[in-house]
């Protein structure tokens, strides 16, 4: 018999993989039947409300919960930060109240008496001199490559500028939280809104003093995470404690303001950069000092990855300074910290092109030799330019026409890893032909369930709906946390491996029974075929298993070519800028994205559309606004924390770059990359339209008008 080798099918042999397939949980979600942690209502469930600190920094002087405990309907009160504890940023939870109704819980919160002693705070993330005077800075390293001074002397074009990108919040629509219910004294059942089903049980068990084996974590649906939901969190543990105290299940979800304040932020970065090129436009020098904040820890975007993607620039100085602010701590935000790196790199390159009087496209193209994937970028740039009609639309910077509304073009590029995460699954093939799989993974909305079903259905020659996918519970085999674009690779590899192993066992049974050669067999359309001719149905084949189901474990990642890592990606923007109001409108956005082998192109495109739209958000409108005097996050609600609406996105064009060379690479993660270069591409388009760099994203009307007042970049 020919050697059996784990591999994907030849591209042309696929019936499902690579097509457009509706997500298998789509109807549940669209009709409101999908149950999130925030929706769990087991009998007697109590509702929790939070008392939070409102200010920059303080010490809790006293807290009195006696009246709260006596409030009608209140069943339990938990103090997070009692007398003597420091509260170091706006939104810090001081106490939580669980009551029969949410309204009664609010009554209980109002009945808590707390006094604070104010402490000095610092919340400005951009003001480096001020932060230095206030002793809020710390050096985060510097390093050199080549000889910057000599190269600057030799350079033909030199540009110096200021760039930045503000802190934003994750702003998950389902806030962080859980529903906790005890079974006796030592068994806890948690419905947790989490990106980490397999890894959070122990985080409850430790602080609660119970065995990790006694904590059940369930998450069938999660209403957004974006990198902020990997932990049980202090409020998850307190939810369990409230439940224990009250002897009833408790649901504790952060309120909207608290979600914005402490549910996770993306660190900011501001940079002074000098860039230089030779007469032909080859970039020869990068010299940057950047700073920003991640919260009290005082970090900023990483030093080691600047200039972003263009690591081959021969002469380089770089230096980073962190600012410690009294603001909610950072968490991984989709593609950390690439959007910020891109925002302070590709904008600089674009300004260099402007200074040279060159077409930005040509300068990016010329310098691709300094990137990790010059060939892929070049192809993707060509495709993108065609889609947006770059050649016809291009004009020199500042020549955006129009009297009050100027139009411009911009581009940027990005990269990401996207290797497969470590996941195990148990695939069961039942004697009646039913197929199901179990794994402790989660579907963030990326289509995890669907790609698993497609992988097994393709392998067994079945329909997508013939496969039952069981995920979202920590009693299932361990799966990777979903962060870093490692899940589709993480789950598809093990399922292909397990599926093939099961299929080969079934082939052996069919070969023996029907006297055909096992290596002549294939599975297609619910049948087992030998050299293209039907031998038996899938059900008949599975009937040969006997009374017990066939159970196969799939593992990954493995070095067998099913998955790999590393993507490029190019985005282009066409915008209009109203120079009287400062309002930027998106006309068109183009994304050209590679990601290896695509399992479901419909959900893959959704990821890219979503990346573009989140990119529009942080490029144009969303940011955390801190009040320096009070230390408070003053726009922590959905009216004032501005996200784009359906009419704000312009025309979006997504091209999945997938020549055979991509298919051959196997599956590579896609979630992060499409959100990275959107901001820089939009900023560059605004600079091209107006001839002025608006240095800091988001490019709010105020920042646009200020930049226009200041004149040329």
């Amino acid at each position: 018999m020919a050697e059996r080798k784990v591999a994907w099918k030849k591209r042309a042999d696929n019936t499902l993989i690579g097509g457009d397939h509706q997500r298998i949980d789509g109807f549940e979600k669209a009709s409101g039947h999908a149950k999130y942690a925030a929706d769990i209502n087991t009998a007697g469930t109590l509702f929790a409300r939070l008392l939070t600190f409102k200010g920059g920094a303080a010490v809790v002087k006293s807290i009195d919960i006696a009246d709260a405990e006596k409030t009608p309907g209140v069943r339990a009160v938990e103090v997070f930060n009692g007398a003597g504890k420091e509260v170091r940023w706006d939104g810090t939870i001081v106490a939580a109240v669980a009551a029969d109704t949410p309204e009664q819980a609010e009554d209980g919160v109002r009945a808590i008496k707390v006094t604070y002693e104010a402490k000095p705070h610092w919340v400005d993330e951009e003001d480096l001199p001020g932060a230095t005077t206030s002793k809020r800075t710390k050096p985060l390293g510097d390093n050199q490559k080549g000889d910057v001074a000599a190269a600057l002397k030799a350079a033909k074009h030199v540009h110096k500028g200021y760039y930045g990108i503000a802190t934003i919040s994750h702003m998950c629509l389902e806030t962080h939280g859980s529903h906790c219910e005890w079974d006796g004294d030592d068994k806890l059942k948690v419905h947790l809104s989490t990106q980490n089903v397999s890894g959070t049980g122990g985080q409850f068990a430790g602080p609660l003093g119970i065995d990790a084996s006694n904590v059940s974590i369930t998450c069938n649906y999660i209403g957004g995470g974006f990198g902020s939901k990997f932990a049980a969190d202090e409020w998850g543990v307190k939810c369990a404690q409230l439940s224990k105290k009250a002897g009833k299940p408790v649901r504790l979800m952060l309120d909207r303001a608290t979600e914005l304040k402490i549910g996770g932020t993306r660190p900011s970065g501001f940079a002074e950069v000098t860039i230089a090129a030779d007469a032909e436009g080859n970039i020869t020098v990068w010299d940057s000092h950047h700073w920003g904040t991640s919260g009290i820890a005082g970090s900023t975007i990483s030093l080691g990855q600047l200039p972003y993607c263009f690591d081959g620039i021969p002469n380089r100085n770089r230096k980073a300074t962190g600012i410690s602010t009294n603001t909610g701590p950072n968490r991984a935000w989709r593609a950390p910290p690439h959007p910020q790196l891109c925002a302070v790199t590709d904008t600089v390159i674009d300004d260099l092109a402007a200074k040279m009087g060159a077409n930005s496209y040509d300068i990016f193209m010329k310098n691709l030799d300094k990137t990790p994937k010059p060939d892929v970028y070049a192809e993707e740039m060509k495709i993108g330019a065609k889609l947006i009609d770059w050649k016809a639309k291009w004009h020199a910077h500042g020549k955006g026409g129009g009297k009050s509304v100027k139009r411009g073009l911009g581009m940027a590029l990005h990269r990401w890893g996207g290797r497969a995460g470590a996941t195990t699954c148990t695939v069961k093939v039942h004697p009646d032909g039913a197929v199901e799989t179990f794994l402790g993974s989660q579907d963030l909305g990326t289509g995890t369930r669907t790609v698993i079903a497609i992988t097994l259905a393709e392998t067994f020659g079945l329909g997508i709906n013939d496969v039952k996918v069981n995920l979202g519970n920590n009693s299932y085999p361990k799966a990777n946390p979903s962060g870093g674009s490692i899940t589709v690779g993480g789950v598809s590899g093990p399922h292909r491996r397990a599926g093939l192993e099961a299929l080969w066992k079934i082939y052996d049974l069919v070969a023996a029974k029907y006297k055909v050669k096992a290596d002549s067999l294939s599975a297609k359309g619910g049948k087992i075929l030998s050299a293209g001719k039907s031998v038996c149905t899938w059900k008949q084949a599975c009937g040969l298993l006997g009374p017990m189901p066939l159970e196969v474990q799939g593992q990954g990642p493995k070095d067998d070519g099913l998955t790999s890592a590393g993507v490029a990606g190019v985005q282009m923007a066409d915008v209009s800028v109203d120079i009287e109001t400062g309002i930027v409108r998106i006309n068109e956005l183009v994304a050209v994205q590679d990601c290896g082998l695509i399992i479901d192109e419909l959900t893959a495109r959704s990821q890219v559309y979503g990346g573009l739209i989140m990119g529009i958000a942080y490029a144009l409108s969303e940011e955390r606004v801190m009040d320096k005097r009070t230390g408070r996050f003053i726009n922590a609600d959905l009216e004032n924390y501005k996200l784009p609406r359906i009419g704000d996105i312009g025309k979006l064009m997504v091209h999945m770059y997938q020549p055979d060379s991509e298919y051959e690479r196997g599956v590579v993660g896609l979630g992060e990359p499409p959100v990275i270069s959107t901001g820089a591409a939009i900023s560059n388009a605004v600079a091209n339209a107006t001839g002025v760099r608006v240095p800091v994203q988001p490019l709010t009307p105020q920042r646009v008008l200020e930049a226009l007042k200041g004149g040329q970049a």
Partner: protein, 207 residues
Amino acid sequence: MRDRDDQNRSGPDFNRRDFLKGSAAAATATAMATQGSEEAVAANLKTNVFAAAAQNVTLNVNGKDHTVKVEPRVTLLHVLRNNLNLTGCKEVDERSADGADTVLIDGKTVLAGSRLAIECEDKKIHTVESLRRGEKVDAVVAGFVKHDAMQCGFCTPGFVVATRAFLDKNPKASLADIQKGLGGNICRCGTYQGITMCALEISKGGK
């Protein structure tokens, strides 16, 4: 008997006599000590005033009457989610700035988080769950699935209800109409493209 059978609390018709009747009934039922002061307040108000105690409210939801005992301050959103377990409408922002709590009341879109449950008696309330019952699936639900107009799915039910109501009112909506008419809802994952395509397909591009 319900407390407020014969009353209309929603308009200027409300008067003190009605209030006293309702208030007395509530007070009898719950022995409220605050009755006197509430009467005094009510005497000076020509607007809706209710006793603070929990009372029976009957809501017609998805074609069925449900009687729940809730305080007058409780929103329709909380009754739907917490009492009736109809969790398709989501609580995303206390100010209802996002549309995730969109339901239909007498065919019109209403943000359930900005309406008190007691205001909704004698009205026909429909939630997103009514748009899919077994095999019977509304075209908007199916269109959202077809165009993958969802990711995490948390804003999706609100968007589905908003889209259904919008297309009922504007069956030939153009792209510009859709972009304006569905601007009351927020998605964080960025699913506007699929939603637009779904609505455009059902409205046949406005032609």
